[in-house]
């Protein structure tokens, strides 16, 4: 059996992948806010990406399963809302993996007010890297994505939108 400490708990958590975008781990997404351990007890605090994100329940269950399998006796998963999750917390590695997977990574900086007034962001085609792309829909296949199409290679693609 492996040693149970904060470091090993973090290593285990790094293996848990996002159920909707399996190339990303929950660590890449930046939704783990805190990890506490004491003896054979571990508490993980996570924050939801979107309030209605249907993946959150699955993620919670996956965290439990992974930690139990790693030998922890008691696993507690807590959810906090504030500070709210932002795409800025996504790791550099996560952004690279997203693009390789065919999803354009979020552009830097939070959107907030900018989007209310409809200023367009520059989104790069994950296939041919062209910046001549257009938004087809603000809402894509999951709450976190928007639908774009590349004007250069004509490929439609998902963009992980900034929040």
């Amino acid at each position: 059996m492996q040693v149970l400490n904060l470091e090993s708990a973090n290593r285990t958590l790094e293996q848990v992948s996002d159920p909707e975008i399996p190339v990303l781990t929950i660590a890449d997404l930046g939704i783990i806010r805190d990890v506490k351990t004491e003896g054979r007890w571990v508490e993980v605090t996570i924050t939801p990406t979107y309030s209605g994100c249907p993946a959150m329940d699955t993620i919670e269950a996956d965290i439990r399963t992974a930690l139990k399998e790693a030998g922890w006796d008691e696993v507690k998963v807590k959810t906090v809302l504030d500070p709210p999750w932002t795409t800025d917390w996504m790791s550099i590695d996560g952004r690279r993996k997203l693009e390789e997977y065919g999803i354009a990574a979020p552009m830097d900086g939070t959107a907030d007010k900018r989007i209310l007034f409809g200023k367009a962001v520059e989104v790069r085609c994950p296939r041919c890297k062209s910046i001549h792309t257009q938004r087809i829909s603000q809402f894509g296949s999951t709450p976190c994505k928007a639908l774009y199409q590349c004007s250069s290679c004509l490929e439609p693609f998902d963009y992980f939108k900034c929040i």
């Binding site: 939801p48 979107y50 309030s51 209605g52 994100c53 249907p54 906090v80 809302l81 504030d82 500070p83 709210p84 999750w85 932002t86 939070t110 959107a111 907030d112 007010k113 989007i115 209310l116 007034f117 409809g118 087809i136 829909s137 603000q138 809402f139 894509g140 296949s141 999951t142 709450p143 639908l147 929040i163």
Partner: protein, 250 residues
């Protein structure tokens, strides 16, 4: 228990819940796939927000109340949502006009709530505002697209705005619980929100080449549990399963 805080939390929760439930009816019926997906995504955001708020309301209600018991086992008179959220979807123009008028209100409401004196409401608002900003942009863009579109789309969206106008008044008239929450700096001053709302709505309608309706007689009652004839039907659909099979599990 603080009765006013409970009522106010339910006001916020019920607006999100009923609007989300109503919008979900578009699922599989959107004019094109992308817009179908957009509406169901927005619906999901509203349901997610209502869950967080109902969980908070359930804590205040106590006695074993849960988000589910509040959503599925309350009767019509106990729901505090604005009437505009329960109105039928009708056509695309009507649905988007409804959302535009509500989303603009909702954006300014949540902008205030981000600094609410109630910590839980504040945290929920800081999360929700990001989604609500997207909703407000989406519906405003559609109003412009339809208003400044074909003769038919222009006419349909103008008719929708005209018909819906009388449901906008109650957004800005607080009930006694909201008023108490405004005094406690938990809730915005709803009369003051009206100015911000008017300005944004006028601006969008102008770009859309639409005429802003005259101030006139306004409907009210939602905040106090007096609803339109549409509310019973929406609850019947939403509550049917858990009421018929209370122990049913997903």
């Amino acid at each position: 228990m603080n009765l006013d805080l409970k009522n106010y939390t339910l006001f916020l929760a019920d607006n999100a819940l009923i609007l989300g439930q109503r919008l979900g009816e578009w699922c599989g019926h959107g004019p094109v796939l992308e817009q179908d997906i957009a509406l169901t995504n927005i619906s999901l955001d509203h349901l997610g927000q209502s869950r967080m708020l109902l969980q908070y309301a359930a804590k205040q209600v106590g006695n074993g109340a849960t988000e589910d018991s509040l959503a599925f086992f309350r009767n019509e008179g106990e729901f505090r949502n604005l009437l505009i959220t329960e109105l039928p979807n009708n056509d695309w123009a009507y649905t988007l006009a409804k959302h535009f008028l509500f989303d603009t209100f909702n954006f300014f409401q949540y902008e205030f709530l981000m600094n609410s004196k109630d910590e839980t409401i504040q945290a929920i608002a800081r999360k929700a505002i990001k989604e609500i900003a997207y909703h407000a942009q989406f519906s405003a863009e559609w109003i412009i697209r339809m208003g400044d579109g074909t003769e038919e789309s222009h006419q349909r969206v103008q008719n929708a705005i005209d018909e819906l106008w009388m449901y906008t008044g109650e957004m800005f008239v607080a009930d006694s619980s909201s008023e108490a929450m405004t005094k406690a700096a938990v809730a915005p001053d709803y009369a003051l929100l009206k100015e911000q709302w008017q300005e944004k709505v006028s601006q969008v309608l102008e770009i859309a080449t639409l005429v802003k309706p005259e101030e006139g007689w306004m409907q009210k009652g939602g905040r106090e549990g007096k609803h339109t004839e549409h509310m019973g039907y929406i609850l019947a659909e939403m509550q049917h399963l858990p009421r018929t099979y209370p122990t049913a599990k997903w």
